[in-house]
Every structure is written in C-alpha cells, then in structure tokens.
C-alpha cells in the first residue's frame, strides 16, 4: 500500500512528461483507491514494480539485483519512508519560503534550493554600514535596508519603517540604495538621492521620491529635478550634480555591495543577524527586530522587486 502511494505520486509526475508511465499511474491509483476503500489490492502492481526494478538492477549488477530482490520489503519501506520524509520536509520548506522568504526558516539566510531556482540566493551579512544613514552610529543595533526608489514594495515598507525607527533610539538605520535596473530611471533616482544628500537634503527628498514613483518612471531626470525643487534643493546645483554624474561611483558601489551580499529583491532588510525580503509593517518590523517569526506584507506574490540577472552595470 505504501509503495502504491509512492508509485502513484512518482508515476503521475512522470506521466506528465511521458505516456508510458501513465498506465503505471493508473494501476497505482487503482491500488490506492481499493486500499482506501478497505478492499484488498489484488492488482499485482507491487509485484510488477518489484520485478521491473530488480530485473533492471540485475542487468547492471547481478549482486545488486539479488540483494534488492531478497530484501525488497525492507528496501521499498526504506525508500517509502525517505520519500514521505522528503515530501514532508519539502512542504515545510515551501511554507518557510512563502512565510519567511527562506526555506530554512525565519532565522536563516542559509542556502535554499527554492531560492536558487528563483534566483534568490543566500544573503550574506552586509560588509559595512555605509549608506544614507539615520540615527546614532554608536547604537547597539543596526538596521540596513537595500531599497529601490522606484520599487512599489520598498515604498510600501516606508510607513512601517518610519514608525519603527521613530521609537527605537537603539537602532542605527542605513539605507543602501539598490536600483532595480528594469525600472525606468531607477538608476537616475539613486544618483538624484546622492545629489540631494550632497546638499544635506536627502531627508526631505526621500518621501518625495517614494510618493512620486510614477513621475520618476515617466519623466526621468526632468521629473527628479521638479521633485528636487519641491524638496527645497538648490536646483542649479542639483542639475549640475546630475549632469556631471559624479554620484555614479556611489551608485555603483552600493549596487556592487548588494550583489556581493546576494540581494535578489527590494526591499531587503538586515537587522543585526537577521534578514527579511519584502515590505514589513510596524508590527512585523518589531517582530523582525526582536527575533520572533514575522510576515512580509504581501499575499499574492513574493513581495519584492526582483533584481534581474545581468542587471548590474
């Protein structure tokens, strides 16, 4: 019976790709159905599978075929346990992946196969606390954000982030701008942010950037210039800064850092030794910071603007 369940799953999946496995899937289904309905499974399916496996193995190695044949009950039970165990662990990993962004669980940024498949590789600890900072650099806790000014999710996180750090004098917050290059003018927005920082006006410029993402996307530098005026920046100096591209090295620095850290989507947060990818509200920021399980604020997708392959210049 156990073997029939395993066989049903395996052959059902294989049957998607090759018609020759569909008959086995049907037989396994019949066997499972009969057993579930408390009728004996007399299809002989388990015997067929045993013969198929041992005959193939004996062609490769007579001794191996003999060993499997003699101990078939044990071998099939062993693989069935392995199968169900790995299915259970995979389900748990999937839960962790969707709940916490890493299939190893909320506390981990270790390697996860799902992350690798989706391009979301293991996150490493940031190398330094450079960036657009807020708070006391000597504070015991550091919250680092890799965020993109044109990213919807980075914007979504702003409210919770603001509320969180407003009440945490023990937290030193650092924004490392990480433009998602598939967004129009995302790179220029980061240049503009550093140009604003030159004038000491990044704090006023930041909310305008997030509140006018559509302007940035559609108008580019012209739109950024208008926003700079609204933030009371010196327009001439701002435009000169943008035209000279002197903040480009900074943009490249944080892009490169983000690549080294393994950032695969924005926003990505690091609070001491924990990481989170996706927007958080204030409650979940608190949980994130205190080491409790938390949830990113999205239901239908993974809640991050992806950094596409080859995005880094």
């Amino acid at each position: 019976m156990v073997l029939c369940i395993v066989a049903l799953v395996v052959f059902a999946v294989l049957g998607i790709f090759s018609a020759k496995y569909r008959e086995y899937a049907r037989e396994a289904f019949g066997c499972v159905t009969r057993t579930v309905m408390l009728r004996p499974c007399d299809t002989g399916f388990d015997t067929k599978i045993k013969v198929k496996i041992t005959s193939k193995l004996s062609r490769l190695s007579p001794k191996l075929g003999q060993s499997v044949f003699k101990h078939y009950a044990f071998v099939s039970m062993f693989f069935a346990v392995l199968f169900f165990g790995s299915m259970g662990y995979s389900a748990f990993s999937l839960y962790n992946y969707f709940a916490f962004g890493n299939c190893n669980g909320p506390e981990s940024s270790a390697f996860c196969a799902i992350n690798a498949l989706t391009g979301k590789t293991e996150l490493k600890k940031p190398l330094n606390f450079d960036g657009l900072a807020y708070g006391d650099p000597s504070a015991p806790n550091v919250l680092i954000e890799y965020g993109c000014f044109t990213c919807f999710y980075t914007r979504q996180s702003e409210h919770g982030l603001k509320a969180f750090i407003a009440n945490r004098s023990d937290v030193y917050y650092v924004l490392k701008p990480f433009p998602v290059l598939s967004h129009n003018n995302s790179y220029e927005a980061v240049q503009a942010a550093f140009c604003a920082d030159e004038q000491g006006k990044f704090g006023a410029f930041r909310p305008l950037l997030f509140d006018n993402q559509d302007v940035i996307l559609s108008e580019g530098v012209a739109g950024l210039a208008r926003l700079a005026v609204n933030a009371s920046l010196d327009s001439g100096k701002f435009l000169d800064c943008m035209a000279s591209k002197r903040t480009v090295p900074l943009v490249e620095k944080y892009l490169s850092e983000g690549k080294q850290v393994g950032v695969y989507g924005t926003p990505t947060f690091f609070f001491n030794n924990r990481s989170a990818v996706g927007p958080l509200d204030v409650e979940n920021f608190q949980k994130f910071a205190s080491g409790q399980p938390f949830a990113i604020q999205t239901v239908f997708d993974d809640g991050a603007c992806p950094a596409p392959l080859g995005a880094l210049k």
């Binding site: 045993k50 041992t54 005959s55 004996s58 075929g65 003999q66 044949f69 003699k70």
Partner: protein
C-alpha cells in the same frame, strides 16, 4: 524435430511457452479468417444471395473438416464459443441427473458446470504426482450417470486411464463427457474409437482463432439433450402457440454463428493434419523433456508425474510464481503462465495452493528456446540467492 517456425513470425520476438493457455496462429489460419470477412461476409442459411450461400457452404465444409480431424461425423459437431461453453451446454442439456463422477484435477470449466447441474458429485483423486490409479476410477464410476474427465490435464499434462473409464461407464450406462481442450491440439484423437459420448475443445488452443469451440456429441446422446440457448437458427417454425426445433445440431447453435471462427478452425485442423499430429506430440514431448532436464539441473523443483506430455510445471525456490512469470518476460521475453491455471483444486491437491509456473510447448518451440529459457531461469534463481 519439426520446423514450422517460419509460419509463426512471432517466434522471432518471443519465446512462447504459454500454449496451454492459447497458441500462436499461422498465416494460413489468419488468411482463412480474413477471407470470410473480405470475400463472403454473409448470413449463412438465412439469406440466399451469393455471399450468404458461400458463407453457408464454407461453414458447413469447415464442420466436415473438423469432424474428420477428430474422427467424428459432421452431424456430431456442434459449434460453440469455446470449451467452457461446450461443457456448460453438455451438462445443462443432458436430461439425466443422479451421481456425477469427476476428478480433482479438472479445469474449473468442468467442475463448475457440473456443480451447477448435479447435486451429487464424487471426486477421484490421483496420487501426489498426479498419476491416477485405474481402480479408483472403476470404484467411483459404478452407479454414476455421468463421468466427466479430461483427455490431457492442463496443469501437469497427464492423462487419466480413459480406456478403462469408458469401459466402466458403459457398464454403468453412464455418459462420458471429455474435456479435450488440451488433448485435441496435441495428439491424434478419435472421438469414435475413444467411445466418448460428448467431447469439448477450443479452436484457440490449436492454432485456431479465439471465440470458436466445439462440442462433439453422439447423435443418440443429442436426442437426450434439451436446448441450451434458443432463438433464431434453432427452429424450423415458430408461431404464437409454439415452435418446432431442428432435430439436428442446429438446435444447439442459436443466433448467427462465428463463421470466420469455424472456417479458421478448419484451416487450423488442416494445418495440423499436414504437419502430422503424431510428429507434433513427439516434438513437444522432446522440448518439454529438455525443459524438465534443464530445470532439474538448475535445482528448480519440477512438479508432477514424469508421465506427462508437452508441459512442465515448476517453482523456483525463493521466488513467487507470479514473480517468475514477470521476470521471465522482463529478462528474456519468455512467455509462461503462473498461478493455478483455473484448476485450483488440482494445484491444492498436488500441494501447491499458491500456484506454480507452467511452461507449455507446441510444435513451433525449439531446443534453442529451451536454452534461452533456462538461462533466464538461472538468472531468476540467482536473484533469490538460493
């Protein structure tokens, strides 16, 4: 040794040792069957156009050829679907009841219709090898109204002492019904000389098509038999008040018959006649003896008496019979059958209630196939580690 393998192209792809279940078909039989459908697919007897007339002519000619094959009269040949239907027809139709005598070695197609129609049945048992003592039959047949037995057994291909059984049955005025499904394909059988009253066999076990069989019934016995299945083709006249059945074999052949099957069976009879059944019997015995020898050398348990025909029953130690069956197919494209072969009491009596593996030979099997079979059995035995 016979060499007819060219007439059976499938023998190039498969080592076919499941002939007791059904046989391969030569092109001559296939052509005969196709010929009916292609050239004269008419409604014999009922219609009078040229196709129907030809169908009738060929079908009745087939009846004559089949009758000749088993040394019976055409008037004694009743076409059925198979041996099972023939035996059901026999036991349901004969008027006499009373005690029936049969053996534990019979096929279910003998036992079950007997049980359905007779409340008193005595079973004769052979020894544990399957050999019957004549005396056991003689003691049982006394007072019987019907004796039903096999010509050749389908599990170990032994035969009961038919001559003595028929003689004893005559003395008791008992009808002798013979299951000849495994006999007619493999040796020359004379219905007339055998002294049987009713004899059943199938076409598909003798190179013929499936869906056709025969009940050979002596005309005197036919008079005792009531109709089994009735309908069109069995009656001369029908009115609202009653009907008049045919007095000949047609009253047992209801509905449109399997004309293609009958014609194909006749072609199979012709083929076997051409090869010579005596040669067939010797050939398959030689192949079966070679199988027996190779299996014994491998330490495989061969079951049953050595007084057997072209069939070997065996078990591989440490491997279930159905596993052997599947492994032979998987490893070497060897076709055998495993289980109880529709003869559960027989296998239980021989001491193998879980069944065994049966390799049954026929005229197209060869000694080279025996080698391939033996090599595969050796591999299977190695799997069990014994």
């Amino acid at each position: 040794m016979i060499d007819v393998r060219k007439d059976f192209p499938l023998t190039q792809k498969v080592v076919y040792f499941d002939n007791a279940c059904t046989t391969l078909k030569p092109q001559q039989v296939i052509d005969a069957v196709v010929g009916y459908y292609k050239d004269f697919p008419g409604c014999a007897v009922r219609s009078q156009h040229r196709l129907a007339k030809r169908a009738h002519k060929e079908f009745e000619a087939a009846r004559v050829r089949i009758a000749r094959f088993v040394d019976a009269k055409p008037e004694e040949v009743i076409f059925t679907k198979n041996t099972t239907e023939a035996l059901n027809l026999a036991f349901s139709s004969i008027a006499r009841k009373g005690k029936a005598v049969t053996s534990v070695m019979e096929h279910h197609s003998v036992l079950l219709p007997l049980r359905k129609n007779f409340s008193q049945i005595e079973y004769v048992k052979p020894d544990l090898k399957g050999d019957f003592a004549e005396q056991a039959w003689l003691e049982a047949v006394g007072g019987a109204s019907v004796v039903a037995t096999h010509l050749v057994n389908n599990t170990i291909s032994t035969s009961p002492p038919l001559h003595a059984i028929v003689k004893a049955a005559r003395e008791s005025n008992a009808l002798v019904v013979v299951d000849a499904a495994q006999g007619v394909p493999h040796k020359k059988v004379s219905f007339r000389k055998g002294g049987f009253d009713l004899m059943a066999f199938s076409g598909h076990k003798m190179l013929g098509p499936t869906g056709i069989g025969c009940l050979i019934a002596r005309e005197e016995v036919q008079k005792e038999m009531k109709e089994f299945m009735v309908g069109g083709g069995t009656v001369e006249t029908v009115s609202l008040e009653g009907q008049a059945f045919f007095s000949n074999v047609h009253r047992f052949e209801a509905g449109i018959q399997d004309y293609a099957g009958g014609i194909g069976l006749a072609a199979a009879c012709d083929y076997l006649d051409k090869v010579g059944l005596e040669k067939v019997a010797l050939h398959e015995k030689a192949v079966a003896d070679a199988l027996d020898k190779r299996l014994t050398e491998l330490g495989v348990e061969v079951i049953g008496s050595k007084n057997r025909g072209g069939l070997v029953l065996f078990n591989v130690p440490g491997v279930e019979p159905h596993e052997v069956e599947l492994l032979l197919d998987e490893l070497a494209a060897v076709a055998v059958r495993a289980g109880a072969f529709c003869a559960m009491p027989a296998l239980a009596h021989l001491g193998y209630p879980k069944g065994a593996v049966r390799a049954s030979c026929y005229l197209y099997n060869s000694l080279q196939e025996v080698d391939r079979f033996a090599d595969a059995v050796k591999q299977i035995k190695a799997l069990s580690g014994r």
